[in-house]
Amino acid sequence: MRARLILEDGTECIGEAFGAVGDRRGEVVFTTGMTGYQEVLSDPSFCGQLVVMTYPLIGNYGINRDDFEAVRPFIHGFVVREHCEQPSNWRSAQTLDQLLKAYDIPGISGVDTRMLTRKIRHYGTLRGMITTSDTPAQELAAELASTPLITDQVSRVSTKSVFSCPGAGERIVLIDYGAKHGILRELTKRGCDVVVTPYDVTAEEIRRIQPDGILLSNGPGDPKDVPQSIETIRQLLGEFPLFGICLGHQLLALASGADTTKMKFGHRGGNHPVKELATGRTYITAQNHGYAVAAESIQGTGLEVTHVALNDGTIEGLRHPGKQAFSVQYHPEAAPGPYDSGYLFDQFLEMVARAKEEKTYAKAR
């Protein structure tokens, strides 16, 4: 069945429909990972977006039971050059097409994804729509340009209630703004006693859980769309060791008085070099962010920049020296992407352990 991808600037790409049939709009973004489409489409941070895969062959190794980053996908649409109908991999349980159908997500294949990428690179992220209708492109484009995008993604993807993944180690509260399973996986792998809370949890509720540390998860959209979360973090900052990832990083910055801005087209992929300023070492990181902490807003907040993107200087890591808090804009949990930054979870847990020790001494004294 014929499908079209229409952009707000009037661009029209004709392709084939796959997955669910239907019209869906969203912010069109591209991601450059050559593997990891299953993780991408189930990463809650992509909620509300039409995701363009720059690699042309998607679905080659099928969809398996294990590689989901959330219990269900939240992307609004999937844009590929070709989707594989006969995947091959020992873990493959279904095709990409079957998955998208099951979750009512429209896909479009056969489009010039490189053209879309170049367009987005040039003009910045655009609003777009996957449609199987025959409505003229100009009409749809005009409608896209005048219709605001959704802003409630975090509430759509966050857990509705508190739940725990018991472990024998440190008790970590994971505030779920759209947390990837990968984060939970890294914590449980390290034996943590994890309590996952909704995004709108209050400081008081967290205190009742008596965590040893708090992890601010990744999540979709503009950090300024969740002001109550910023307020909660402000209240907890300094009281508990904090580690922010991606949206969590932006929220930590905002809670510390810094500012965030929307990037032209963001960083999405598994090949982004990040320089750790203290050591001069560069790490290849997995990234997925359309917003960033504004460099000029750092001054006077007590925050220190620890990591920057090698290519464009974007702030990729922050530290609040007095308040036992640090954060990274990228994804140490990988999934998809390189495992090079997994050590950050160890650093977090060391910080948690130190803080606990200090507390014990303080009590003893």
Partner: protein, 1070 residues
């Protein structure tokens, strides 16, 4: 960290001659390295014995030594040049081995030279089997289990422990004789028992078999600050069991989930870190298709063929970055040269599919064993880029130039079903096509998978191509169907065949519907960043991203994959043509598909199209580029073969006109031309039937040289001595008919000479004349060429110059031409004229200092030789003697007869340059890999016709102190001449016979000339093969033997007892 400030002068080691397994990729790597080092203001000294390379151009390094790459010569260069550092990691295994040898000999320490890139310890840990296994164990990286056994029981015990299948490799047998795969105790017992017998030290290596697993490679880089990146990963379509150089490969991996990808990526980074490599490294894995279990197969602590492929596949210049890292830079301070904005510390991501298919020499070596296994056999490879897998692989097929323009092999439909299944199971060079054939016959994908172990993903893709054929056959060809066909990489020609239309009709329909390819950029980053690399591929997509200038454009056609008869020499000329075009103010555009070469470096031309050199693909580019014209004379037969088709489509061919190309290549026209110019040619005839051939040969007189018309590298050319041989040849070797005539020439046993010249249409510049050591009858590419000629009289040379000038003018040559002469009874005859760049252009350019391809290109553009500041006529001869010595890859190609003849067999060449011929030959032979024996035993077995001549040669060996061995006939002949000779038994006389003498290393030199009949069962063939496989010097031409003698006589001091003191008459005191 900025560059090391104590490094001022660096010695780079090249990889030497092109052999199977070590080809043009190291010219590409070495050239990049030299450029990268020079950019940093370092003084670069280069040693490489291969004159056909760009890297040995004197502008590539500050000092270029074209000398043998042996510890003695490299040490000599080190003492002379006193470099601060040595960079060996870009010269392949040769470079690495040399670094180890020099370090172990203490030369580096004594001369205070720092080893750059990878330290000695790392090289050893990567290369030494035991050290490597120990390191992998330490890192927790799995390697296949193995054990060395000397009894069958030990082998069985090992099998009980780890299970089957197992691979048995007897120790120290060549080519794995006596080994095999076993899947039961019974077969294990049998194979080990025989393997132990074959092994001279009675040992076998028993290894866990990983055959059939996915083979995955990672190209990794690391700098001194421990920053590590993966440039690219690749997946072999052929599972483990076929050498990666012989495998069809795709990039990036297609069937790995992110977990598998990252698991192996992390492993590769652990390994490069543990080895402490500063530069590039390649890690090969076997991955179980049914679990996360993987094994490390091999690590190459240097840039390799795979890294050249990865560089071209992604745009990321690995060798260049490796060179910068070696002198102290870190990845995060180096800019990614593709984008110019972002940094080299980044992992390329691509948005297309890359396919590589090897190019094998079996078209030339009909009798060779075509089975693919652990010994690489390909001479070259092609790469193609597409937006779908199907498009990518179909482009690669078109690039191979094996007469296929589709996933289809002519004659495959005739193969018996059982043979087909067998050939799917044991891979050979045609398996890709046989899979398609099996699918066409309705053999199920499941069964094909069971036979080939090729991943279902790829088989489904092939099946999609085959299924689409049916669709094209059955459905009406509309624009929608056509568009889908083009996106799957079908050619207009094949679509036409299937849809019952002509190719032209399909093209018209396509164009009328706006179905024309757009061109996309290779930019390392999937368009995330702006890039300025002019590196493009075609795709049937929406947006074209080229930018245009107002400059005049000229397209140069490259020479495609490296094969016997068309080697790196043509890439050399192509690159020079591109540079000359740029100098002359044109936009130089290149079309080529060989990932190993300098011509496909995106820095070389103003625009690089990585595309098949197939007419449709070339026309797609020309249609939009609208060049001033196309230059075809540098790309060998590949480019020349496209000339008529291009001209027929209205494309202007620059340089020598098509009519004149034809006048030189068409037999009849050429004969007429020679008659008109009154130039002599060996008498000959063109025949179209067997009967005609016999008549022609009788009128010309035996021996005659027979060959099919229009051939490459003397394919299927033979000298026949009588009618029986002629009949056999005509009936078996060629398919003669009016469309495929056969040429029969008088074979003149004389000296061969060769001339390369440049003509601007009027004036002719002859940089030099080369004389061949081997007499006429040995292919010029396999002969040792000497410059300047040592035995030709001034009169003969004058005649050659005159003949060349006449021919060049008569053919209105614009550009290069090459003429082969035979001097017979003191008179030169023209054998053939090639109106294009030849194999000897780089050699002659280097030894004479005349930039031939450059001058020729400018002549093509209309600048006369005089205008360019060169003097027409014969360039004054140089004082130094230079020889070009061919290099063969016979050890890699089993069952190939090594005897020299009219068919070309060499894969590469080296140069020796010295004050005298003997010294130059010494260097040449040494550089070619000959282990020149100064004493020992000569085993002689020659054909009757050669006995008299051979006797004189044998006498001289005897005088040098060589012991003699011979078989009956030859031994009698030598005895009669008064030489002491040991008789050895012929094969038919039982054991021990002459094969045993060779096997045990008793014979150091084997002199064997060809007796008739080429069937491998002939004794001569077995003798020659045995010599090759045991590393004895095997001489099959009496001329080569004489040349070697000349060298030996020069380098050997005779040892003679002092003359007796004369005793005077007794004097008595008076």
């Amino acid at each position: 960290m900025p560059k090391l400030d104590n490094m001022k002068k660096i010695l780079v080691i090249g990889s030497g001659p092109i052999v199977i397994g070590q080809a043009a990729e190291f010219d590409y790597a070495g050239t990049q390295a030299c450029q990268a080092l020079k950019e940093e203001g370092l003084e670069v000294v280069l040693i490489n014995s291969n004159p056909a390379t760009i890297m040995t151009d004197t502008n590539m390094a500050d000092k270029v030594y074209i000398e043998p790459i042996t510890p003695e010569f490299v040490a000599r260069v080190i003492r002379q040049e006193k470099p601060d550092g040595l960079l060996p990691t870009l010269g392949g295994q040769t470079g690495l081995n040399m670094a180890v040898a020099l370090a172990e000999a203490g030369v580096l320490e004594a001369e205070n030279v720092k080893l750059l890139g990878t330290n000695l310890d790392s090289i050893k840990r990567a290369e030494d089997r035991e050290l490597f296994r120990a390191l992998m164990k330490e890192l927790g990286e799995p390697v296949p289990e193995s054990v060395i056994v000397s009894t069958v029981e030990e082998a069985v015990a090992f099998a009980d422990e780890i299970g089957y299948p197992l691979i048995v490799r007897p120790a120290y047998t060549l080519g794995g004789t006596g080994g095999g795969i076993c899947d039961s105790e019974e077969s294990l017992r049998e194979i080990v028992a025989s393997g132990l017998k074959y092994s001279p030290i009675s040992q076998c290596l028993i290894e866990q078999s990983i055959a059939g697993m996915k083979e995955i490679e990672y190209e990794v880089m690391r700098d001194a600050s421990d920053n590590c990146i993966v440039v690219c990963n690749m997946e072999n379509i052929d599972p483990v069991g076929v050498h990666t150089g012989d495998s069809i490969v795709v990039a990036p991996s297609q069937t790995l989930a992110d977990r598998e990808y990252q698991m192996l990526r992390s492993s590769a980074l652990r390994i490069i870190r543990a080895l402490g490599i500063e530069g590039g490294c390649n890690v090969q894995y076997a991955l179980d298709p049914h679990s996360f279990q993987y094994y490390v197969i091999e690590v190459n602590p240097r840039v390799s063929r795979s890294s050249a492929l990865a560089s071209k596949a992604t745009g990321y210049p690995i060798a260049k970055m490796a060179a910068k890292i070696a002198i102290g830079y870190t990845l995060d301070e180096l800019k990614n040269p593709v984008t110019g904005q972002t940094y080299a510390c980044f992992e390329p991501t691509i948005d297309y599919v890359v396919s590589k298919i090897p190019r094998w020499p079996f078209d030339k070596f009909q009798s060779a064993n075509r089975k693919l296994g652990t010994q690489m056999k390909a001479t070259g490879e092609v790469m193609a880029i597409g937006r779908t897998f199907e498009e990518s692989i179909m482009k690669a097929i078109r690039s191979l130039e094996i007469g296929c323009y589709h996933l289809e092999l002519k004659g495959a439909d005739k193969i018996a079903e059982a043979d087909l299944r067998q050939r799917l199971r044991t891979a050979d060079d045609e398996r890709l096509f046989l899979i398609a054939e099996a699918l066409r016959r309705g053999i199920g994908i499941g069964e094909i998978h069971d036979l080939t172990k090729i991943d279902l993903f790829f088989l489904h893709k092939f099946a999609r191509i085959v299924a689409f054929e049916t669709e094209l056959r059955e459905r009406e060809l509309d624009l929608e169907l056509l568009r889908r066909a083009k996106r799957l990489g079908f050619t207009d020609r094949k679509i036409g065949e299937l849809a019952g239309r002509s190719e032209e009709e399909v093209r018209q329909l396509r164009k009328s519907g706006g179905i024309i390819p757009v061109f996309k950029m290779v930019d390392t980053c999937a368009a995330e960043f702006e890039a300025a690399t002019p590196y493009y591929y075609s795709a049937y997509e929406q947006e074209d991203e080229r930018t245009w200038t107002n400059k005049k454009r000229v397209i140069v056609l490259g020479s495609g994959p490296i094969r016997i008869g068309q080697g790196i020499e043509f890439d050399y000329a192509t690159v020079h043509a591109v540079w000359a075009l740029k100098e002359a103010g044109y936009e130089a555009i290149i079309i080529n598909n060989n990932p190993e070469t300098v011509s496909t470096d995106f820095n070389t031309s103003d625009r690089l199209y990585f595309e098949p050199l197939y007419i449709e693909d070339v026309m797609n580019i020309i249609d939009q580029e609208k060049p001033e014209g196309v230059i075809v004379q540098f790309g060998g037969q590949t480019a020349i073969n496209l000339a008529d088709k291009l001209a027929a489509r209205g494309v202007r061919i620059l340089g020598t006109s098509l009519e004149n190309i034809d006048a030189a290549e068409n037999r009849e026209k050429f004969e007429a031309l020679l008659r008109k110019l009154d130039l002599a040619q060996p008498p000959g005839k063109t025949v179209t039937s067997v009967a005609e051939a016999i008549g022609a040969a009788e009128s010309i007189g035996f021996p005659v040289l027979v060959r099919p018309s229009y051939v490459l590298g003397g394919r299927a050319m033979e000298i026949v001595y009588n009618q029986a041989e002629l009949t056999a040849y005509m009936e078996q070797a060629v398919k003669v008919n009016p469309d495929h005539p056969v040429l029969i020439d008088r074979y003149m046993l004389g000296t061969e000479a060769e001339v390369d010249a440049i003509c601007d249409g009027e004036h002719v510049l002859i940089p030099g004349i080369m004389e061949h050591i081997e007499r006429a009858g040995v292919h010029s590419g396999d002969s040792i060429a000497v410059y300047p000629p040592q035995s030709l009289s001034a009169e003969i040379k004058r005649e050659l110059i005159e003949m060349t000038t006449k021919l060049a003018r008569a053919l209105q040559i614009k550009g290069l031409l090459n003429i082969q002469f035979v001097i017979y009874q003191n008179r030169p005859y023209v054998i053939e004229v090639n109106p294009r760049s030849s194999r000897t252009v780089p050699f002659l350019s280097k030894v004479t200092g005349i930039p031939m391809a450059n001058i020729a290109t400018k002549a093509i553009l209309g600048h006369s030789i005089i205008e360019q500041g060169f003097e027409p006529g014969y360039h004054p001869e140089e004082q130094m003697v230079s020889v070009k010595v061919p290099v063969f890859s016979f050890t890699k190609l089993r069952r190939v007869d090594i005897t020299l003849g009219p068919e070309m067999k060499s894969t590469g060449e080296v140069m020796g340059r010295e004050q005298t011929l003997a010294k130059a030959l010494y260097k040449g032979l040494l550089a070619a890999g000959m282990n020149i024996p100064t004493h020992g035993t000569l085993l002689v077995t020659v054909a009757d016709k050669d006995k008299a001549e051979a006797l004189e040669i044998v006498k001289r060996f005897h005088q040098l102190g060589f012991k003699l061995m011979a078989t009956e006939g030859t031994a009698d002949c030598l005895k009669q001449a008064g030489l002491a000779v040991t008789r050895v038994q012929k094969l038919s006389e039982g054991t021990p016979n002459l094969l045993d003498v060779i096997r045990t290393g008793e014979a150091n030199i084997v002199l064997n000339t060809l007796t008739r009949g080429k069937a491998p069962e002939r004794d001569g063939f077995r003798i020659r093969r045995e010599a090759v496989e045991n590393g004895a010097v095997c001489l099959t031409s009496l001329d080569t033997a004489t040349a070697l003698l000349h060298v030996l006589e020069t380098i050997t001091f005779s040892t003679e007892a002092m003359p007796q003191q004369r005793i005077g008459r007794a004097v008595v005191a008076q």
